[in-house]
Symmetry: C2
Subunit: 477 residues, 2 copies
Amino acid sequence: MRKHRTKDRLRYQEIADIVTGQIHGNLMPGEKLPSVRRLSRQEKVSVTTVLHAYEILENQGLITSKSGSGYYVRRKPGQNLPEPSVIQPPASPSFVNIDRTVLQILGNIRQKNLISFGAALPSSELLPNHSLNKITAKLSRQKDNALIQYENPFGNFNLKRQLSRYSADWGRHLSPDEFTITAGCTEALSLSLRASVRSGGVVAVESPVYYGILMILAGLGFKALEIPSNPSGGPSISTLEKLFKQKNIDALLLTSNFSNPLGSLISDEDKEKIADLSGRHKIPIIEDDIYGDLYFKGKRPVTIHSFDKKGMVLLCSSFSKSIAPGFRVGYAVPGRFEDEFRKIKFMSTGSTTTMSQLILAEYLSGGGYDRHMQNLRKSFHDQILTGGNLIENYFPEGTRISRPQGGMVLWVELPKDKDSYKLYLRALKENISIVPGYIFSSSKNYKNCFRLSCGFPWTEQNRNALKRLGEIAAERL
Amino acid sequence: MRKHRTKDRLRYQEIADIVTGQIHGNLMPGEKLPSVRRLSRQEKVSVTTVLHAYEILENQGLITSKSGSGYYVRRKPGQNLPEPSVIQPPASPSFVNIDRTVLQILGNIRQKNLISFGAALPSSELLPNHSLNKITAKLSRQKDNALIQYENPFGNFNLKRQLSRYSADWGRHLSPDEFTITAGCTEALSLSLRASVRSGGVVAVESPVYYGILMILAGLGFKALEIPSNPSGGPSISTLEKLFKQKNIDALLLTSNFSNPLGSLISDEDKEKIADLSGRHKIPIIEDDIYGDLYFKGKRPVTIHSFDKKGMVLLCSSFSKSIAPGFRVGYAVPGRFEDEFRKIKFMSTGSTTTMSQLILAEYLSGGGYDRHMQNLRKSFHDQILTGGNLIENYFPEGTRISRPQGGMVLWVELPKDKDSYKLYLRALKENISIVPGYIFSSSKNYKNCFRLSCGFPWTEQNRNALKRLGEIAAERL
């Protein structure tokens, strides 16, 4: 990229902002932008400055240049590539085997010296660090010893009251006592399975499915049965109907809103159908709603749990994707399995960290949370759109990507002959990390897919890394 | 108790302190104290004031009055009652059943409106609340986002370095990397069992055994085999030798130092024997060392783990009994089971709360921790001695008590015909809570025993409550 003096730097950013405003405003996809010369005259800046501004916008995936013809607003971002294919996984359940390479991959996800497209996490500058620190400082000045003492093993009441307050947005109002606080969503899922599924039982999951869920199933000795899942609408309802009716499964574990890695969103109609199946056939559903608050448009999607009339759906979530991953606070609404759930919670980790709960309760009771979530959703939306455009620009022909309506990850399908584990290994040598597709399946499907996290603002460094990743993907893999 | 004017109140406390100093100093057990009249002349206070001072000391169990003969230094406190009997539990293992009454009892342990002799916890005024709050406030002012981010799933390195620094006191120096941080000792024990024992396996435990351990075994579907255990020296070595040789067990779970509830301390010689048995017969030991730092005299006792040459002992502990229960930070040194342990840790709760780990690491690196522990040990020692004396004064003839050399609980054995569950129920009506003995056994032994926590300073209210408990125990139960 060309070098500019500080003053000029400010100017080209300004020009880029003006054009961005027009693109989000009255300019239509495919429309031609003002010529470089015209914009230079109009804004009284050098041609170089305008060229640089356009270069930035092109890198962000907002505009595209046609040689000899000028610059154009891109078509609706990410709409040019087809969605990933739906795969038919094996029809029989199997125990999950987590091999050493999986653990190595996971070890690399959070390494600090890597440019990480791996971890499905909000970048820390997007989190309300300042507000949380202020509350922490305030609580640490209080005279009582509350911070160091055991909390009620099933959770701080004020925190549960805040959850209750927000629960109406999820489709049905829940009372504080229906919640049990856990050490993150991972514990909520793990305890839900232990509380509701017989040892060694078969658990149906989406395909592809978050490897963390496969690891939980492996650790507890459950069998996994993968259900074909659509990148936009989620798992196949006809397959589910068959499984429930024939009682071929002992439980269903689903991320109903913006699943990881597909980003699929189950429609309200299908959610109701799934809740009915569960109630009618007395087969529990463990619903992971950890991404539900991260919708890009319209209203917060409701849960399967909100349609459940029989207490057969165990709702699980946490604050790790929206407020503070390191707090390790999640929750479950275990319905009719509550007694068993709480017994196992008490036996597994006792109570949950007091301090994290008190800080969260205070944060949620203030006005800052709603504003923070608005900003976070907007950031994720922008980052997902830009990520999609960059993939489209930089990746080999035949690449497909998901078009999630929430969350922070993209699912990328490379041409059939590509091996994403090789891509992972080669990228790692250049300090770039991704998560290869095969670990999202117990049957080792998705060898040509990978997950791309867009949890962070797109810096020049990240953009270049993704460009490089596209170049590697174009090599023989 | 008689009423005194404020000035006089100060004086009688002063007199009591002088006499306490003499008792801890040059006066011998059984020795006669200065007569009331003489002390009154000597210290220039009224006879009433001296009488009141002696009354306080008598209530604290430090002195005893013989009618018509004056006041005497008590014999070595708690040495007048015999130790609890050793019970021969059933020789065959059985699955543990946690019934509803157990959960009700545990629910009552921590209720705030009760005078709780139930929870084996340090009273919060004995904890370094002020220092921890200062560190918390300091960390919350730091610019980086460290507090809210995920920690390494296996623990913060600085915290592990502090543990490494202290480990030499446990009998063998351990490197930081040998530790894995967990959500409290409960998680450390639970993961250790899952990592080293086959599903449904037989786990040998002391008898009586901490009900929390029975609950963990129940939750994970292991069978428990209780081993007769001596109130001073711990489990029978000959029984252990037989079990190991005949491979009748899949693991041994022991609290080697100041077990809960007996307070027994296994000798170094026996610890070495037990470690050898484990290595020779390749049967893992899960060693719970949560009370090891709470020794009353001499040096910190070493662990079984320090004698282990084969990596077969999984050492577990936490900071819940000494620094901050609510932080939920424990640790394990899982030896040859480390890979499996960490895999299950990752699947169960992910990483452990960041903030708790950072605060602890900073606290342990300062000089305050050693001083705090000195004070805490002295408090617990005093409280245990006073507790023993009060039991001796107030409880029916035939009562026996343990004489722990560390920790904070007493094990009380009532005469054979007493039912401690009835005692528990009647005491609860008067807002006093204890833990009845039967929940410390999977075979429902110890019906005439209960555990008395001495984790708090003896206030007048607590003393009166214990007196009342003794009166109820003397009733028909």
